[in-house]
C-alpha cells in the first residue's frame, strides 16, 4: 500500500496541471497574507470568529468554489485509466484491492496536504500566526473531494467521461452543496449531512464528520472495485 501511495504522491506533481494549481494556491496565499491586514485596518465590523479566520479566508473560498474542480480535474482517471489500460492487472495480482484504493487516496491526499500546508505557511509568514482549525477543515474538504473522485473513477469506466464530469461537477458541486446548507426546503436540506460544507460552516471540530463520510465513500468504492473484473 505504501508503495502505491508513494508513487501516487510523486506522480501527482508531474505535468502542467499540478503546477498551475500549486501556483494558484501560493499566489492566493501570498495576497491573502498581504492584504488581510489591510482589510482589518479598514474599519469594518467583523465578528470575533470572522477575525480569527480572516487571513485564510481566501484559501477556504478557493477550496469551496474551485476545490472539486481542481481535485477531480487532477485525479479523475486515477482508477479508470489503469483499468482501461489494464496496468491495474499488475497491482491486483500483487495486493488487495482495498490497498490499491486506500494507497491511491493517501498518496494524492498527501499531495494536497503538502500544497495546503505550504500555502498556510506562506500566510503565516505575513501574519505571524498559523490557522490550525482552517487547515484541518481544508484538508478534510479535500479528502471529501478526493474520495468522491475515486468513487466516480471506479464507477465510470471511461476516463473521457470522468474528465467531462469533473468540469460539470466542478461547477455544480459547490452550488448544490451551498443550496443544501442554506435552503429551508426539507426535501433538499437533509442532503447537507452527506455533503461537506455543513461541517465546516463554523470554526469548530465538526470537520471530523467529513472524515467519517470519507471513510464511507471509500468503503463503497472498495466494495464496487472488489466486484470489478479487470
Amino acid at each position: 500500500m505504501l508503495a502505491i501511495s508513494k508513487r501516487e504522491f510523486i506522480e501527482s506533481f508531474k505535468g502542467i496541471k499540478p503546477i498551475i494549481i500549486i501556483a494558484i494556491f501560493l499566489i492566493t496565499a501570498y495576497y491573502s497574507g498581504k492584504f488581510s491586514d489591510l482589510l482589518l485596518s479598514a474599519n469594518i465590523d467583523f465578528t470575533a470568529e470572522e477575525l480569527e479566520g480572516i487571513h485564510t479566508i481566501a484559501i477556504s473560498g478557493l477550496l469551496i468554489i474551485f476545490g472539486m474542480l481542481f481535485v477531480m480535474g487532477l485525479s479523475h482517471d486515477t482508477m479508470n485509466r489503469e483499468m482501461h489500460e489494464r496496468t491495474i492487472r499488475f497491482l491486483v495480482t500483487r495486493t488487495s484491492r482495498s490497498a490499491i484504493i486506500i494507497g491511491k487516496f493517501l498518496g494524492i491526499w498527501f499531495f494536497w496536504i503538502v500544497c495546503l500546508v505550504t500555502s498556510f505557511m506562506v500566510i503565516s509568514i505575513f501574519v505571524h500566526k498559523f490557522d490550525m482549525i482552517t487547515l484541518f477543515q481544508a484538508t478534510s474538504l479535500v479528502a471529501y473531494y478526493l474520495a468522491l473522485t475515486i468513487l466516480l473513477s471506479v464507477l465510470i469506466p471511461k476516463p473521457g467521461f470522468t474528465m467531462f464530469l469533473s468540469i460539470v461537477l466542478g461547477i455544480a458541486f459547490p452550488i448544490f452543496n451551498s443550496w443544501t446548507v442554506f435552503t429551508s426546503n426539507p426535501w433538499v436540506s437533509w442532503m447537507k449531512y452527506l455533503l461537506p460544507f455543513y461541517y465546516i460552516n463554523d470554526r469548530n471540530f465538526y470537520f471530523v464528520g467529513i472524515l467519517l463520510l470519507v471513510g464511507v465513500i471509500l468503503f463503497i468504492a472498495i466494495a464496487i472495485f472488489n466486484r470489478r473484473e479487470c
Partner: protein
Amino acid sequence: MFAIETKQLTKTFGKNKVVDQIDLQVKSGEILGFLGRNGAGKSTFINMLTGIIQPSSGSYSLLDVQGPNDDIKKQIGVMPDYSALNASMTAMKHLKFLAAVSEKPVSDERCMDILKLVGLEEQAHKKAGKFSFGMKKKLAIAQAIIHDPQLIFLDEPTSGLDAESVIHIHQLIQQLHQQGKTIFMTSHNLDEVEKICSRIAIMKDGKIGKMGSMDELRAYYQSTITVTIKHSPIRSTHLPTLEQWLTLTGTQLEMKTSQFTIHVTSEKKIAEIIRALGKYNIDIYRVDVNEPSLEEIFLDE
C-alpha cells in the same frame, strides 16, 4: 502439497460457460503446460486464480491457502494474457515499484539481474512506452518473477518473441524449475510444451480433456505407435503362423511382400516382433517407429 488445486471451478460470461467445473491439481515444483485452441478458456482460468476476475462458482486454493487470499499474492508471480505497462516508467522503475507493491522491496542489482535473465539489460533505463511488443513481453515476464515468488503463472510467455529470446525464456523457466518453483504456463507452441513442461493439460470448451506427462499422454494414445518393418522374403510355410501371431501382438496389420506395418501398444512389443522375425530367420533391413506427436494428440482432442 498442491501448488494449485481447483474444485469445480467455473466461470460464465452471460450464458457462455467459459470454464466448466474444472478440477485440477498441480503439484509443487511442476511445470504445467496448458494447451488449447483460441477461446478454450485458458486465460479465463488463470485470471480467476490470480484475482483478476472472480469465479462464478467452485473454489480454489494456491499454495495450500484457500483463495481468494491477498496475503498469498506475495508468493505468486503473474504474467497475465493481456496487460499494459506504465508508458512513462522505465523497465527498472517498473520492477522496483512492483516488487515494493508485493511488499518485497528489491535492490537495483536484483532488478538488473532479472532484466539480464529476460534479455532486457540494455533497455533497463528506457521508458516502457518506447518498448517493442517483444520487449514489453519480456518486462512482463520479469515483473512476474522479480519478487521471487513460489508459484508463477505465465500466459503465453513466448508468443511473439524472436527465436533467440524464446530459447532464453525456456532456459529461464527451466532455471526457475530447478529452484523448485511451480510454473503454470499456457502456450500454442506444442514443441515448447513438449520440451519444457513436466505435465500437460489440454483444455477444450472449458473443460480439461486430457492431462498427464508427455509419456502418459502418448500411452493414452498408445495404439497409435506405428511400426513399419522392411524385411527379407518370408517363406510361404511360415507366413500364416507369423501373420496370425502378428495380429495377436498388434492391430491394423498391413502386409506387403517385403514390408509390413502394424500398430502396437508399447515399445516392448516392437522388441518382441523383432525377436520373432529372427526366429524365422528373416532379416530386418529397416524399422520405422512413428510415435504420436503432441500435435496429433492435440488435433485428436
